[in-house]
Amino acid sequence: MIVCIAVVGHQNNPLYLQSFTEADDALKLHHIVHCSLDVIDERVNNPKKTGSTLNETYLGLLYPTENYKVYGYLTNTKVKFILVTTHLDVRDADVRNFFRRFHSAYVDAVSNPFHVPGKKITSQTFAERVSTIVKSFGLSSAV
């Protein structure tokens, strides 16, 4: 299952961070997300993109840590999406699909005229939509 989903701005500032666990491990997830920025930074700074992967937004598995796997996604505006999951065998296609849906939710959220770019996303609608996507991710992969 997905334990945490985060949006990090292009200056590595957290815009949204939501955990989906009952346990009190917010700090740990913060750390995981924060640490994953290292990997993303490295991939952004040393792009090995050629041809078909030139426009690839999906960064794939960033790193495994303890019981978690961390996946990343980078939008064209250098906003990072980070997914922390406890699934040890996740299909890449599922994660891609998840990120695509999440991206559109994010775009809708920041298109809100009352949203100030660079500020944290506080929209309730966005939170609800994200939790729906997260839930459906669990379902689709279970099936």
């Binding site: 200056q11 290292d38 990997v39 790193y63 660079g118 500020k119 944290k120």
Partner: protein, 1204 residues
């Protein structure tokens, strides 16, 4: 586990470095630093110390290229249980360090050293280095044969060379010892033990197996020694054997060990090569190493697990691969290692593992991960309940702060250097701004940041480092106050306070705590201290340097301060200045700032500290002052604050960035806004330069600086005292006026100021200024008087109405003590603005003015005229009644007042005081004064009685206008004055209408200006009504009659008194003033022949021919001389008398009258002028040339009484 392991660590010889006796810290550090330079000793260098006792087992020793590597364990280390498994873990040599001056007895040193060496059983070489021995010790030491080596005092280079030699000797000794050991092991075999083996209960089968294994293990150990001896080829040979044997016996642990050794040998052999094939080989072999360690773990499910070796191997491989390009692999390895940590039993192993993982992540450039593991390390340290661990935890956490962007400024040299460069050029500024903004972005990981800071605080409290605790608490409080509950904030405040208690007073900390300080403004110089650039070329040197025009502030200049590059501020040495800053305390406790003052880096500024207390959630604007002490630029980057017992420096730039971030939503909260302070425009720090001392004038109004309250039109003198409070004399000064109502300043004594120059420091000059209060409610004082009546509603005391004295002054042209060769650096001058505070109250108000004419016939009298008393009371109400006319001094009864014009002014007094009005008329000149026949002409002040107007009353004041008449009806005067009516077209052809109009107005003004209506109220209020316009309006129409005399003047007298030269003329020629005639009640008798004279005077400059006639009328106005019922008989000619009067002369014509009836008669003379010239015609206001000019004299009364 051991820290800092790498693949190559297999070939490092461990040497314990131990201080013997007491060695001062500094010396020990010095000696050790010399020692540790010899980490690597070339084999080629040690050959001279090496003697081959037997055939060396290291057949393939690379004497040319090989080397021995040392690892110095300063302070030694306890023996490792695994030292048989990895020989490099053994302490193979001991080096003692002795500082001879502190250990005089070398025997004791030798004993101590040998005792210490007993702890290191594995050590094969022991040496004790004794530095800086004395002469006696040298002598003593020379005889000794033991391991004590004395380093005679010498220069550094010699000492280092000596030490190198000794190290080479040690290396050679070690090499020889290794040879011995290997030869013995090869021949006799060796027993190697690991903690793993000791656990095993040996069954018989296993004993056999163990024997087989022992061979392999021995080979592995020999390989280790070969490696240590710097012979990788030999080592490899032995390792190969060992691998074979270990594989056969299933001794995975040793297999992995041997494999590790072989990789090390491979790397040493191929030292310096970095080809991908080698890398692949290493990677492949190490993967196998890790695999075999893993296998051995499955084998040995005992208490002691070789897990640490697996993790170590993982770390070794990670370190080997640690490059950006291989980041993914390294991360995988490191994450695996980190995951393995939880299975590690020993906490210190885990600590080392995390340290290594953090270090490797750091090397890889993964700062955040490094920080994460560092934090894990710190937590492990914190679990150990001791002081040293807490210090370590604190230090480790301090390293993480960079990644979490909460670093202390003390450790952040970049920020420090930036702050030192404040005031650098704009390009740098922009860059800096960008960097700070980026750090603001990252500062949003508040959850993590607060945790880190809190841990630092906790660790430093436990470690007993109050400064670190203070710094952490300060950072926590300053950056995250919105996320901390008020109780938590107070807790942090008390943590700050308790930390400060343990610090010496005056401790400085790089991290500011509260309050937030931002620059509010630089107050412009008070008007007293304006500085004006001097313009050398001009007399009026201030012109052009300050905004000119009537406005002090112009809307155009106001926009300028935003333009940061242009703004410049000049401060003067020795004159206090102030800067406004705003403090904010967004926390929920009372903040007491013990002292705060401006921080000036240029060092030419004495700042005055003040203390402030800020209630919870409040902001305050305070003024910080100081005195510039020397010439040069000043930059003020921030403030020095002493708060919570520690001195910190608060930079304005930081807060500016913070506010910028808050505006963009990057920072949690704007501290000023949450304190209710208004948003402030970004204040740019102007370029401040300090100039040498200038003179400083200070003004005050003598008798109080308050506004002087004046009634409208009141005239008062004020004295302004100017003192030079500077230290330089004032050499030039110039007074000018500015502001509104400038014409209310009647006079300024410029000369007083000029004569006082140069005004020495401390000197004072008093400048009298005469003020006249302006009219209320008037925008323009030249407005008509009519407006002033309606406008005078209440008092108007707006400050803006007062005029200002502007004094430009300056000191000497050159700076004192400086021989200024070029005139380019001119010390600036200054401007002092002295507002003349005038508060005008409504005074007398003028209602209207009108011109009255009064005609009172004169009396002919035979009596000698008597002096007249001035009867002031007669003008009580200002209305002259007909009945009183005779008693009035102003009217000469003999003269009458034919054609007398009176100006009546109606005044009202709406105030609550009494006004007294006195009217004075100035005469044009002394010559004119002579002409007057009025007694009051020259003495204007008492000439007219004062008129008193009580409060809320109104009164009329009459002003006779008679004496303005000119003595001569002159063509020139006339031409000038009389063109207004346009009747004189032929003569006025040379003038334009406009011109004449203007001239007429001028003459009216001239006339009006001579009439002064002064008032007095109380003892010291006096003034003048400005009613010129009203008067002018009233006089406009009949100005000619007032100004110009008639061409002819007629007079009658009784010729009985012919000897008396009594003037009965109404001309003003007669100069005999004191005997101004009055009429007695004398009269003539009826039925008597009364001789009389008529006097005709020519007022013009030309001869006038005329026919004069005299008429006499009775009370009914009937002509008594002619007609059927004439009651008067006469002798002499009474009509059609043809006379000729030469210019300015008079003629007399005598005649006699015989009155038949008593009663009142009126005599009048009239003349028809023949051949009238243009002047006369103009005067008569006629333009037809053939019309006769008829001149009529004033009537004279004569009373005829009966003969009875």
């Amino acid at each position: 586990m051991e820290p800092d392991v790498s693949i190559e660590s297999g070939c490092m010889l461990r040497i314990a470095v131990l201080p013997i006796g007491t060695v001062p810290q500094a010396q020990l550090r010095d000696y050790v630093s010399m020692l540790v330079r010899h980490r690597k000793v070339e084999l080629s260098a040690i050959s001279s110390f090496y003697t081959e006792h037997q055939k060396s087992p290291f057949a393939n020793q690379p004497w040319d290229t090989g080397s021995l590597r040392f690892k110095f364990m300063v302070g030694g280390s306890p023996p490792s249980p695994w030292e048989d498994f990895q020989s490099n873990r053994k302490i193979l040599a001991v080096i003692g360090i002795c500082h001879c001056p502190s250990s005089p007895d070398l025997d004791v040193v030798a004993d101590q050293f040998s005792i210490v060496c007993k702890n290191y059983t594995s050590a094969v070489v022991q040496r004790c280095f004794a530095f800086s021995p004395g002469d006696a010790q040298l002598e003593d030491g020379g005889k000794r044969g033991d391991n004590l080596i004395l380093f005679p005092p010498a220069d550094r280079q010699t000492l280092e060379f000596h030490l190198l030699t000794m190290m080479q000797d040690i290396a050679a000794s070690l090499l020889m010892e290794f040879e011995k050991w290997v030869l013995r092991a090869e021949s006799a075999g060796t027993i190697v033990k690991t903690p793993l083996d000791s656990q095993a209960s040996l069954s018989s089968e296993e004993v056999i197996k163990a024997k087989k294994r022992r061979l392999g293990r021995a080979q592995k150990t020999i390989g280790d020694y070969c490696l240590l001896a710097g012979s990788p080829v030999d080592a490899n040979a032995h390792y190969s054997t060992a691998l074979e044997l270990a594989r056969l016996t299933g001794d995975y642990f040793w297999y992995a060990g041997a494999l590790e050794g072989s990789v090390c040998a491979l790397l040493i052999d191929r030292m310096g090569q970095k080809d991908p094939a080698l890398e692949e080989e290493v990677k492949y072999r190490y993967t196998s190493v890790i695999l075999h360690y893993k296998k051995s773990i499955q084998d040995n499910a005992q208490r002691v697990s070789p897990l640490s070796f697996e993790l170590e191997a993982t770390l070794k491989l990670a370190r080997f691969l640690c490059r950006r390009e291989l980041a993914k692999e390294v991360v995988d390895l490191l994450m695996t290692a980190a995951d393995g940590a939880k299975y590690l039993i020993d906490a210190s192993d885990r600590l080392i593992l995390y340290v290594e993982v953090a270090r490797l992540f750091g090397t890889l450039g993964y700062q955040r991960k490094a920080a994460f593991f560092s934090r894990q390390v710190a937590q492990l340290y914190l679990q150990q309940e001791n002081n040293l661990a807490a210090i370590s935890a604190m230090q480790v956490l301090a390293m993480t702060t960079k990644a979490y962007r909460v670093q202390s400024r003390a450790t952040n040299s970049r920020l420090l250097s930036l702050s030192n460069e404040t005031g650098s050029n704009l390009a740098d500024g922009g860059k800096m701004q960008l960097q700070s903004v980026v750090s603001l972005f990252e500062s949003q990981w508040s959850t993590l940041q607060m945790v880190v800071l809190r841990e630092i605080l906790q660790a430093s409290i436990r470690a007993g480092d109050p400064l670190a605790a203070w710094s952490a608490a300060a950072r926590l409080l300053r950056s995250y106050y919105p996320l901390i509950t008020p109780a938590g904030q107070s807790g942090l405040a008390s943590a700050l306070a308790t930390s400060a208690e343990r610090l010496p007073s005056g401790t400085r900390c790089a991290d500011p705590s509260l309050p937030f300080i931002r620059l509010h403004s630089f107050p412009v110089h008070p008007s007293q201290m304006d500085i004006v650039k001097r313009n050398l070329g001009r007399e009026e040197w201030w012109v052009g340097s300050a905004p000119s025009g009537p406005f002090i502030y112009t809307p155009f200049s106001k926009g300028e301060p935003n333009d940061g590059s242009k703004q410049e501020l000049i401060w003067v040495v020795g004159e206090p200045v102030e800067v406004l800053v705003e403090l904010a305390n967004p926390c929920g406790f009372d903040l007491m700032v013990d002292s705060i003052y401006l921080s000036v880096q240029s060092g030419n500024f004495d700042a005055f500290p003040i203390s402030v207390s800020l209630p919870p959630n409040s902001a305050k604007i305070i003024s910080l002052s100081g005195i510039p002490t020397s010439v040069g630029p000043i930059t003020i980057p921030g403030c020095i604050v002493h708060c919570f017992g520690v001195i910190t420096r608060h930079l304005f730039k930081d807060v500016d960035n913070l506010l910028l971030g808050a505006a963009q939503g990057l920072v949690l909260s704007d501290p000023f806004r949450c304190c209710g302070s208004a948003k402030l425009k970004n204040v740019s720090v102007p370029n401040i330069s300090v100039v040498p001392s200038l003179p400083l004038l200070v003004s005050h109004v003598i008798g109080g600086d308050g506004a002087s309250i004046l009634y409208e039109g009141e005239i008062r003198d004020v004295w302004i005292s100017l003192a030079n409070a500077g230290s330089v004399p004032v050499e030039q000064a110039h007074v000018s006026l500015s502001g509104k109502n400038q014409d209310s300043v009647i006079s300024i004594s410029y000369e007083t100021l000029k004569s006082a120059l140069p005004l020495k420091p401390g000197a004072e000059v008093t400048l009298p200024v005469t003020l006249k209060a302006w009219q209320l409610g008037l925008v323009d004082p030249d407005n008509t008087a009519g407006k002033s009546i309606s406008g005078g509603a209440g008092r108007v005391s707006k400050d803006g109405n007062s005029p200002m004295l502007v004094i430009h002054y300056s000191g000497p042209l050159e700076y004192p003590g400086k021989t200024s060769t070029n005139g380019s650096v001119l010390p600036p001058g200054r401007r002092l603005v002295v507002p003349l505070h005038i508060c005008v109250q409504q005074g007398l108000s003028f209602i209207k003015a009108r011109l009255l004419s009064m005609e009172i016939p004169a009396h002919i009298s035979e009596n000698f005229p008597q002096p007249v008393y001035l009867r002031n009371n007669s003008a009580e109400e200002g209305i002259i009644s007909e009945s009183k006319t005779e008693r009035l001094v102003k009217i000469d009864p003999y003269r009458g007042s034919w054609g007398l014009h009176l100006l009546e002014l109606e005044l009202s007094n709406p105030t609550d005081v009494v006004f007294e009005i006195s009217v004075s008329v100035q005469l044009e000149s002394a010559k004119d004064e002579d002409i007057s026949t009025f007694i009051d002409h020259d003495a204007a002040d008492f000439g007219y009685p004062k008129t008193r107007i009580d409060r809320d009353y109104s009164a009329r004041v009459l002003i006779p206008l008679e004496h303005f008449k000119l003595p001569i009806l002159d063509g020139s005067v006339f031409a000038k004055d009389s063109h207004a009516d346009g009747s004189f077209s032929n003569r006025s052809s040379s003038f334009t209408e406009k011109n004449t109009k203007a001239e007429l107005n001028t003459s009216i003004k001239n006339l009006v200006s001579r009439i002064k209506v002064r008032w007095q109220s109380g003892r010291n209020s006096s003034g003048e009504l400005s009613i010129k316009d009203a008067i002018q309006a009233a006089l406009q129409t009949s100005v000619m009659d007032i100004l110009l005399p008639d061409p002819l003047t007629f007079g009658f007298r009784l010729s009985e008194n012919g000897s008396q030269q009594v003037a009965m003329l109404d001309s003003s020629k007669e100069s005999d003033i004191p005997v101004s005639s009055s009429v007695s009640k004398g009269s003539v008798l009826a039925h008597e022949m009364i001789p009389m004279e008529v006097l005709v005077r020519n007022n013009t400059k030309e001869i006038i021919r005329m026919s004069l006639s005299i008429t006499c009328r009775d009370v009914a106005g009937e002509n008594c001389i002619e007609g059927s019922k004439s009651t008067v008989l006469w002798a002499g000619v009474l009509s059609e008398i043809q006379v000729e009067v030469s210019p300015l002369q008079e003629i007399k014509h005598s005649f006699s009258l015989y009155f038949l009836l008593p009663g009142e008669y009126t005599l009048a003379a009239a003349a028809v002028i023949n051949d009238a010239n243009d002047v006369l015609r103009a005067r008569a206001r006629t333009d037809s040339p053939d019309e006769p000019i008829f001149c009529c004299g004033p009537p004279f009364h004569i009373r005829v009484i009966g003969s009875a």
